[in-house]
């Protein structure tokens, strides 16, 4: 029972990480109708800048303060220099161009930082474990990730639903021409939204850096799961992305944790281990297929 609670925490943590990635991606898609594969590169940049600055200065906070603007700036540059030309093109062109950007950023990172993975430690204050559930020490850093993710989700909700900027974002998402006609500066809005998405990806990257290997290409593995999240949640919907991210995080974690054990009840041990591992890694895709059968446009499709 305690194990189940701990695994649910793990699932939540993976979920909020995915949400930070998915929020930017789904915003960009919802408003600009743009598929951006290079979103994972912003995650990678966030991690690299944070690791470098933290290593040089010894301060996680400084790393955070530099990495977030750096990711936002990189997103802004990408939007201004490349993606702006792609809004009118079809999705295939966008996929090709942004896939090119992935290759570009991976090579860039190798040029600047070399092939060796970077090291980044957990900040001193969060290095220990907390016994949130009695008898189960849980890494404090992972708790910090969960709470940061939930706070960001709350802030995004307020931003989109309760502010003037959010109103403009929603207006452009539902009807671009009409929004322009009533005087919303859409090019500026697009740049802002894109930078915000990149910033969130950078935040996910820098929070992942102490847990993961900071290496070129690290953005791709999370990118695939992120796409699963936004497809399940409904393209363009932040609320959908949030629920889908938690769902995917939980399904993936609980599947990895308990499927082999469950299968052992019906299968011989060796076969159960193999089949459990394979099934667990398919889990989120099966979930996606099931959701799409039930609701072809995702859980909370954005209005078109």
């Amino acid at each position: 029972m305690l194990l189940l609670l701990e695994q649910i925490l793990n699932g939540l943590q993976l979920g909020v990480m995915l949400f930070l990635m998915a929020a930017g991606l789904t915003l960009v898609f919802g408003i600009m109708r743009l598929i951006n594969l290079a979103h994972g590169s912003m995650y990678m940049l966030g991690a690299f800048v944070a690791a470098t600055v933290t290593q040089a200065t010894g301060s996680f906070v400084l790393g955070l303060l530099v990495a977030l603007p750096a990711a936002a700036l990189a997103g802004l540059m990408v939007e201004l220099l490349v993606l702006r030309r792609l809004y009118a093109r079809d999705h295939l062109d966008q996929v090709l161009a942004t896939f090119g950007l992935i290759l570009f950023f991976n090579a860039l990172v190798q040029l600047v930082w070399g092939r060796q993975p970077l090291f980044m430690d957990v900040p001193e204050a969060l290095a220990g474990t907390v016994e949130l559930i009695p008898g189960v020490p849980y890494p404090a850093y992972r708790l910090a990730i969960i709470s940061t993710g939930l706070m960001v989700a709350g802030a995004l909700y307020v931003l989109i639903q309760r502010t003037r900027l959010g109103m403009q974002i929603r207006a452009s998402a539902s009807n671009r021409e009409m929004a322009e006609a009533i005087g919303i500066n859409t090019p500026l809005l697009y740049s802002l939204v894109f930078a915000l998405g990149a910033l969130l990806a950078g935040l996910a990257g820098l929070m992942a850096a102490p847990i993961l290997a900071v290496e070129s290409g690290m953005g791709e593995s999370i990118l695939i799961e992120t796409f699963v999240v936004i497809v399940i949640g409904g393209l363009g919907s932040i609320r959908g992305a949030f629920l889908a991210a938690l769902l995917v995080g939980l399904v993936d974690t609980l599947g990895r944790a308990f499927l082999p054990t469950l299968l052992r009840l019906v299968l011989p041990a060796a076969a159960a281990d193999g089949a459990g591992a394979s099934l667990a890694s398919m889990g989120i895709y099966i979930l996606m297929a099931a959701v799409l059968l039930w609701r072809p446009r995702g859980l909370f499709p954005a209005p078109t």
Partner: protein
């Protein structure tokens, strides 16, 4: 007419110069230099090149020309390069492949075309057993070896309830099979994770709940970094000791793992502190040439070059007589940096295997210290299936 004359003379001159350059024995290296795993190929290439440079462009007194190409970790790319080497460059010695899947695509065809292949890394079981070939030599290890030595060590240390973890792909399953060949205790759990997985929180929680007395893992590259960092963050490293093969503990990876790896025991056929003349020379020359401590991959590249050198010397630089050259390779008359070395019947190493421990250096870096020789003259498990 005159133009044609000129052309023929020019052509003749081109051929003449080509023949002059062909005095050097060409060696073709197919290795992985791009992608995240690119540093592995870099280490092998640098080790190999160092052996050539230390003899002023020669191996075994014979001038050599080393051609290096990047396979990008892709089997089909490796195949194309091999074809080009053999057909266009007329190369008779190929080496360098890092990954077993690339080796499986390239090696069988290469050795059937009467070309020698000397493996400085990949040692898939297929090529050690039924698929062995007279033109295939492995100078590193059979893939299972470093897992076997760890299994033996864990048993010797008295651990009796070990939790096993490897990625869900052929090499992962082979690794746990290799470990279990010499591990005699109970198995607390056997978990196969997704290849390329980055978050191990679910596995770690399950692991803690099963209360094993030790953990063995094989997670090459970034996966191993992720696992070790998260293992230590979960507060497990002071409770349950971790063991693994050397692949997750080379000096370059350790930099990215940091303190989380300190104290971990890992199995290897080589370490920079092994006491023998060849090794001392190699380590100091490598440090001088490249400004870093060599990894086991570099030592394997260096040994591959020196093995080829010893055979070139014995054959007087004449590789046209394939039987004589093969016999010279098989004799392996070179000072390996790992000390005693000879080939078994399947032309894979018979060698000593060690367990090393990750330690912190005086200047705050991380490296390995040899703890103990666990196997003496260890041969692989597949040699008996090899009918040559």
């Amino acid at each position: 007419m005159q133009n044609r004359m000129k052309f023929i003379i020019l052509l003749a001159m081109t051929f003449a110069s080509a023949v002059a350059a062909a005095q050097d024995v060409k060696i073709g290296m197919i290795t992985t230099l791009s992608t995240k795993a690119g540093y592995l190929g870099e280490e092998i290439r640098d080790g190999f090149q160092l052996a050539i440079d230390r003899q002023g462009g020669k191996l075994g007194g014979v001038g050599v020309e080393l051609l290096v190409e990047d396979d990008g970790r892709k089997p089909e790319r490796g195949k194309q390069i091999a074809e080009r080497y053999i057909k266009r460059e007329n190369i008779k010695i190929i080496t360098g492949i890092v990954f077993s899947n690339v080796a499986m695509a390239v090696v069988p065809k290469v050795v059937r075309s009467d070309v020698f292949y000397v493996s400085p890394n990949a040692g898939p079981s297929q090529l050690a057993g039924k698929g062995c070939h007279k033109n295939y030599f492995n100078v590193a290890w059979q893939n299972d070896n470093l897992h076997e030595v760890t299994g033996k060590f864990v048993t010797d240390q008295g651990f009796g309830n070990v939790y096993l973890l490897a990625p869900n792909y052929p090499a992962g399953k082979d690794s746990l099979a290799g470990f279990k060949r010499y591990y005699k205790g109970a198995i607390a759990g056997e978990v196969y994770t997704k290849l390329g997985q980055s978050d191990y929180s679910a596995e770690l929680a399950t692991l803690r709940a099963t209360k094993p007395d030790a953990v063995f893992f094989f997670l090459p590259g970034g996966m191993g970094i992720n696992f070790l960092k998260q293992y230590s963050q979960a507060g497990l490293s002071n409770q349950i000791p971790v063991f693994g093969p050397a692949f997750s503990f080379d000096d370059r990876l350790l930099k990215a793992v940091g303190d989380a790896a300190v104290g971990v025991h890992n199995g290897s056929q080589w370490n920079h502190d092994l006491e023998n003349v060849a090794n001392r020379e190699f380590v100091s020359a490598f440090q001088k040439a490249y400004g870093r401590t060599p990894t086991l991959y570099a030592s394997q590249g260096y040994d591959a070059a020196r093995l080829i050198g010893s055979a070139l010397e014995a054959a007087g630089g004449n590789i046209a007589d394939a039987d004589a050259f093969r016999a010279a390779l098989r004799a392996a008359r070179f000072e390996s940096v790992r000390g005693a070395f000879r080939f078994g019947p399947n032309q894979h190493p018979i060698q000593d295997l060690y367990v090393r421990e990750v330690v912190k250096t005086a200047d705050g870096g991380y490296t390995n210290r040899t703890v103990k020789k666990v196997f003496t003259d260890h041969a692989d498990a597949y040699a008996k299936d090899c009918k040559m």
